[in-house]
């Protein structure tokens, strides 16, 4: 132990230094209080023995300033005093002294006091060290939390909970919410809603938000089905979360016209479908295990379809709501909450959401605490027809002519028209026309193949029936060895047109009259092909007496 002895008497200094060194301590001696303050930082004493009566700065004045220098770490100060008067001893303690030792003293008493105060000093020192570490960790934690918060905030930037037909209220126990509410409109005006409740609350469950929200926004913008979403989310969380963590979830899709709900509920309390008079029309019960538990083989992604009306609203909530404590310590419960909701809607459907939130807030305030994260979402089924926001954009593509020859191998092994349209669809200008272009190419290609190559008469569809016609077609395809169908495509970006001519090396031309109109009569069920093409293309004509089928399509036509 390092001990600072402050005494103006050389004899005392020598005596104390001798004793303390003998006990195994290292000792520094100074003559007065002023010197003690000067050497304090360089010596870093662990205990101070302080004389009372000294020149320059006496003990009473020195003690509090030494304490101050020591800062957060306790510095034991033991006064060495020759005086026996009671008031002096009292003063020693008042100015911050921890103990005193009256001379003359027994060396064993000195030893006992030094080791007792040494222990206190050690304790204080290690406490201070631990506080420092704790502080460091706490700062670091704060910094990391703010980074994660930033990431979560960005991950949810795509969240579409601001639509007029959706209202949500989320309240979390800690900075991070273990509940998750996501919404997004799909490509055809359908709306997807996800309500999740991770086990626990705080940072750990909140991190599950990242992969889940990414998957949700991605799948919703592609218009995928609720059952595919459920399976994908389960797979992701299964791979990601530890065994004791999972996510109860409700996934809902509302159709563009607001007439149909598709739902998957795994572990979320029964969501309610309520009408504007406050009557519960449907329950959306939990029929599945939460996400992130079952393996892909055991996972059940079966969904439920409900038919709803414009005046219906879906009310979904996490168990934080039903576990809300009432004044008498009982829980609100599903029945209690349903009643609260019914009354609010009866009263005024327009104000019902705010009304219910207000009641929940009052309960929370009354109880001073909430035990679980809590979420409430209301989705109105009233929808306006989606507005088509497609705008014509200018495309800077090169004009091109493309020639493709398709033979037996391609027809049997590949999917030539799909590949062709997939490739054309890579061009931005053609992308939104893929479905229509496929129809045009597929119908014309099949016409040439069926009539000119395989010599299948349209009448045969009538005679043989739909499926047997195709069996016959397969058979003829097998027998026919070397045919070639040529497609010449011409694209002009400035005129916004794509045209193509299909011909074959087949023997049999399509029956056409001199004007190029097909002679084949109206075929009720099956011969829709070319008729359909005529509806979409600007021009459809047979050339070279039914050997070449020419189609011209206007890309500037507004979509459906």
């Amino acid at each position: 132990m390092k001990i600072l002895v402050v005494d103006d008497q050389k004899a005392n200094q020598i005596m104390l230094e001798g004793l303390l060194t003998g006990m195994g301590h290292s000792v520094v001696c100074v003559d007065n209080g002023q010197r003690a303050l000067e050497v304090f930082n360089s010596v870093q004493p662990q205990i101070v023995l302080l004389d009372v009566m000294m020149p320059v700065l006496n003990g009473f004045e020195t003690a509090p300033r030494l304490k101050e220098l020591s800062g957060n770490v306790h510095l034991p100060i033991i006064f060495i005093t020759a005086l026996d008067a009671k008031d002096t001893l009292l003063r020693c303690l008042q100015v911050g002294g921890d103990d005193f030792l009256s001379v003359p003293f027994e060396p064993v008493v000195l030893q006992a006091k030094i080791s007792a105060h040494g222990r206190v000093r050690e304790l204080s020192y290690s406490l201070a060290q631990k506080n420092k570490t704790l502080n460091w960790h706490s700062n670091r934690m704060e910094r990391e939390q703010s980074v994660v918060q930033h990431m979560l905030h960005n991950a949810l930037r795509e969240n579409e909970l601001n639509k007029p037909y959706i209202k949500s209220y989320l309240r979390s126990v800690s900075t991070f919410n273990g509940d998750l509410c996501l919404g997004k409109e799909g490509p055809f005006g359908n709306y997807y809603l996800f309500l999740g409740d991770f086990t626990g609350h705080g940072l750990a469950p909140a991190t599950g938000t990242l992969p889940l929200s990414q998957a949700f926004f991605g799948m919703a913008s592609r218009g995928l089905s609720v059952s595919d979403m459920a399976a994908e989310f389960n797979q992701r969380l299964l791979n990601l979360l530890p065994d004791d963590m999972f996510c109860a979830a409700l996934i809902i899709e509302l159709s563009p016209g607001g007439e149909r709900l598709t739902c998957w509920n795994g572990g979320i309390p029964d969501a309610l479908v309520i009408n504007s008079s406050g009557e519960v029309q449907h329950h959306i019960p939990s029929r599945h295990m939460a996400l992130g538990i079952l393996s892909t083989e055991d996972f059940d992604n079966q969904v439920e379809h409900l038919f709803v009306s414009q005046d219906h609203s879906v009310i979904a909530f996490t168990d934080g709501v039903v576990e809300m404590q009432l004044a008498d310590k009982a829980m609100l419960g599903e029945a209690g909450f349903t009643q609260m909701v019914s009354r609010a809607w009866q009263c005024d459907p327009e104000q019902a959401f705010e009304n219910v939130c207000q009641q929940l807030k009052q309960m929370m305030d009354a109880n001073q605490q909430i035990h679980d994260d809590l979420s409430l979402v209301v989705l109105d089924c009233k929808r306006n027809a989606p507005v088509d926001s497609k705008q014509s954009t200018e495309h800077n593509h090169l004009p091109f002519t493309l020639s493709v020859t398709i033979g037996k191998r391609e027809v049997e092994k590949l999917d030539p028209m799909q590949q062709l349209v997939d490739s054309l669809g890579k061009l931005e200008a053609l992308k939104s026309h893929k479905t229509t272009l496929y129809l045009l190419f597929a119908e014309c290609f099949n016409n040439i193949l069926d009539h000119n190559v395989l010599q299948l008469d349209s009448d045969m569809k009538e005679v043989l029936g739909f499926e047997r016609y195709y069996v016959e077609r397969q058979q003829r395809l097998r027998q026919n060895q070397d045919f070639a169908i040529q497609i010449d495509i011409h694209y002009t970006p400035v005129e916004e047109r794509i045209s193509f001519a299909i011909s074959s090396n087949g023997e049999c031309p399509f029956p056409v009259d001199r004007t190029g109109e097909s002679v084949a009569t109206n075929e009720q069920l099956f011969g829709r092909g070319l008729e359909l093409v005529k509806n979409f293309a600007d021009k459809v004509e047979w050339r070279e007496q039914g050997r070449i089928l020419f189609v011209d399509y206007d890309l500037s036509r507004p979509p459906a």
């Binding site: 218009g223 159709s255 129809l439 119908e443 099949n446 069920l525």
Partner: protein
């Protein structure tokens, strides 16, 4: 790609989803999907959200399904068709034979 089928828990709805290309290459799969509808007179829902391509053979298959199911089902609905697909259905006057929404 392909056809998936799924009955609702109460057996009152049969949802058939068609992914990717809907044409004659799916004829077997599609027929299987609507066979065995049982005697609960379910509503058949054809989910076209992931149908990107279709041609007249697909229209033929839908009409065949309608003939074959007849009154053993409550009805047939075509849902979630993309605008381009819906236009093809509209032009083919499918709204007269099916409920499209």
């Amino acid at each position: 790609m392909g056809v998936t089928r799924e009955f609702s828990a109460d057996q009152k709805q049969l949802v058939i989803a068609i992914k990717g290309k809907f044409d004659f290459s799916l004829v077997q799969e599609f027929r299987q999907a609507y066979s065995h509808v049982g005697d609960t007179q379910p509503l058949v829902i054809i989910d076209l959200r992931e149908t990107e391509y279709l041609d007249s053979s697909a229209l033929g298959m839908l009409i065949n399904m309608r003939k074959s199911l007849g009154s053993s089902v409550k009805g047939i609905q075509l849902i979630n068709a993309r605008p381009d697909v819906k236009r093809i259905l509209d032009i083919s006057r499918f709204d007269k034979m099916f409920t499209i929404n």
